[in-house]
Assembly symmetry: C2
Homo-oligomer: 453 residues x 2
């Protein structure tokens, strides 16, 4: 029997071959689509379903693409011709919440925001907050090693997972990590799985490290600077001043212009850039005052709000970034990350690439941790060659500044051709060999991450 026949015999209605499902599984939020349609989308509802799919995949040597909500920005969960798309979107149970141990055990398909709504009733919180949190799954957050706006202060996914249950390519189930906050037994395979983008196995459960909800108000500071370099230098000065904002977002002039157009706001001064900063916790007000003083000393036209609603209005400009970009055309959202002190230099590099390629590259940054999202806008479905050439320059500049190709979106299919540039050939090969220990037949996401053109 073929893989599809075996799947249907074993899993019946869970095997979806409707053209709409197959078509939807080709793409993610990067806009990129696989060249062909996958064999089937299997809607796993239990760990056993996942194991059955992988046993059949191993038996028939069929590639498997694990997929959550499909909100990725690097194409890692896109299913192509001859591949099984294994969806964990129906595995949404919260198996356990322990306020005393600050942990929760969840299935991978639950949305980040849904989980946090449930946790909030217990006074708890899972801190990773990718911008996609309302629509992305915890399993997807783990697979990409997601970051977000709050992570300079509250950490990324890697800081917030104690263990994962992993189904290997042959269908075996392993329990990695532990429930205790400390543990150094053997190799840290939990950390290895985080950010592995579907190349090591299928995460079917996760033990998450929680925080208590932060009490007290938040303060929001918005400051406008004459240019992006000054804004970047001011944000670095905030970090250097020893205060720790919960959120520190930077928007350049092109980003502000696009958002002003979308939201029908009065135009921002030409060339200006903005920092939007939020403080929280018991020292929120005094930290906001310190930050405002730093920003003013760096030439920022600064306003401070102690009102949560007004703070949300100030942040609304930043939150409108993605729709504003989408209104301009197809959008390749890049994701370089550099040491904080290198942010002004990275903005210089972006300006150089804009000049060299005749492009406008609207850029926002999680300035508290040096993670920049330059946006390349183009017509049509796939980035044209000159956009990739400009992105290539961007990646090389970030690496040269001591940074990385990707701070939080992952490699997927869109950045696999640059992976060896950052890792070096020897580390690239070592990493690929490690994937082969988990997946000897190479059936897990074979065209992604370690694939080469």
């Amino acid at each position: 029997m073929s893989a599809l026949e075996l799947l249907t015999a074993a899993l019946g209605d869970l095997v979806d071959v409707s053209p709409a499902a197959l078509e939807a599984a080709r793409a993610d939020h990067s806009g990129h689509s696989s060249p062909g349609r996958p064999l089937a989308v299997v809607h796993a509802e239990t760990v056993e379903h996942v194991q059955q799919v992988l046993r059949i995949a191993t038996e028939t040597r069929t590639p498997v693409v694990v997929r959550g909500a499909g909100t990725g920005l690097a194409g890692a969960a896109n299913g192509g011709a001859g591949e099984i798309v294994l969806s964990t979107l129906r595995m949404t149970a919260v198996r356990e919440i322990r306020a005393d141990d600050l942990l929760a055990v969840v299935e991978p398909g639950i949305l980040n925001a849904d989980l946090n709504d449930i946790l909030a009733a217990h006074g708890l919180w899972w801190a990773p907050d990718p911008a996609s949190r309302a629509i992305s799954t915890v399993g997807g957050n783990i697979a990409t090693g997601a970051g977000g706006l709050l992570c300079a202060k509250y950490g990324v996914v890697r800081d917030a997972v104690l263990g994962v249950d992993l189904v290997l390519s042959d269908g075996r189930l392993l329990h990695l990590g532990h429930r205790s906050v400390k543990g150094v037994t053997g190799l840290d395979l939990t950390s290895l799985v985080i950010g592995s983008e579907g190349t090591l196995g299928v995460v079917v459960g996760a033990t998450l490290k929680l925080r208590r909800l932060i009490e007290g108000g938040t303060c929001t500071i918005a400051a406008t600077f004459p240019d992006v370099r000054t804004a970047a230098a001011a944000s670095a000065a905030v970090t250097a001043a020893g205060v720790q904002p919960a959120i520190m977002e930077l928007m350049d002039a092109a980003s502000l212009a696009a958002v002003a157009s979308l939201l029908e706001l009065p135009p921002f001064p030409a060339g200006s850039a903005q920092l939007t900063i939020q403080t929280d916790g018991p020292a929120a007000a005094s930290e906001a005052d310190t930050i405002a003083a730093v920003l003013r000393a760096h030439g920022g036209d600064t306003q401070v709000s102690h009102d949560r609603e007004e703070g949300e209005r100030l942040l609304a400009v930043r939150r409108a970034m993605h729709p504003a970009m989408a209104a301009l055309g197809t959008n390749l959202i890049e994701d370089v990350s550099v040491p904080r002190s290198a942010m002004p230099a990275m903005f210089d590099e972006i300006a150089r690439i804009e000049r060299d390629f005749g492009l406008t590259i609207p850029t926002v940054a999680h300035a508290g941790d040096g993670n920049l999202h330059p946006n390349f806008i183009f017509e049509g479905a796939e980035p044209p060659a000159h956009i990739w050439a400009a992105a290539d320059e961007l990646f090389r500049a970030a690496i040269a500044l001591g940074g990385t190709l990707t701070g939080e979106h992952g490699i997927g299919v869109l950045k696999s051709r640059w992976l060896a540039d950052e890792l070096g050939e020897e580390q690239w090969e070592l990493q690929r060999q490690i994937t082969r220990v988990f997946d000897p037949l190479g059936i897990l996401n074979p065209g992604k991450v370690f694939a080469r053109a």
Copy 2:
């Protein structure tokens, strides 16, 4: 030529075959010694020296044991017959300190306390603080994935390393990780190396994630409870109350008695246990008040000190634990870790094991993160069979409570026979295969961690 001849030809005086050096390299602070003496101790001073040693080791198939200050508690750095001990103790340079990026680049041989003395002059701090910090190296801290007293609030080594430079078994040098705080490029090999106990390669450099020194005073709370179970429940209640102590240490009656004897203090009430808690940062005083109220509500005879010197006097009891144990005999310090809520149950298990084996097992705990150090005291150099039988019960109890064999000391040689009990056979084999990707010939610490009796 033999391995020793090749080493001497290549490295001259750096190759130490003096009986004193060979003898010292057989043991660590666990008290355990390798059965035989190593071939040589090589005092590497540069990365190139490390690479030369590993090239020779690969050429001659000679096992290599990496060693820092030899303060480990699991025997992982003990050199035995036919082995090269590669010491990184002379590689002590601090290559870079960046206050703006909150990072430092260091060589592995620098002592944790020496590094922190240097960082303090910059207002900075590397948070991992194993009890051995005055005598243990940063490289050793990384190799074991060390914890410490402060890590419930400030994290363990795994939270404080951005990247490592690793020399592989064949002498190749890889740069793992990055300098940016975010980064998800490929697999997280930095986390994999942390806690790998010399099985994957030799850490010859590390990019450390720093914190700013905490400003403001500390408050210290000491509370005496009628029994250890009540003290453990009170510590769990502190965590459940949503306050985050910097330090929260628990000592049982046998520990208190031993320390009282060593320090010539008046005896503590029979059967009593003590919690010593320290708060820091801007909310130190208010958090101390909250904690004191929780402890009193749980029956603790509680005193609060806002004076740093008095606080140090209160903590001196805890800090005297190791010398107090050493005064009683040879000491096998165990290191189980359980979810915080399971601490009372873990103390019940320890009491049961004490009864069943006719032993007294003085126990201290990092109560903020559920990490217990039960101490087995015996005569002679190696633990007798009934001590191992009792330890075996201890490990099984910790695992059954959702915990782990080792919270911060590692597996080394002393706990390798229990490793598969926690990981399961399939994960054990997978982990061993991963070590083979780094070290195909199996020459890195071959008798440790994944060795079986």
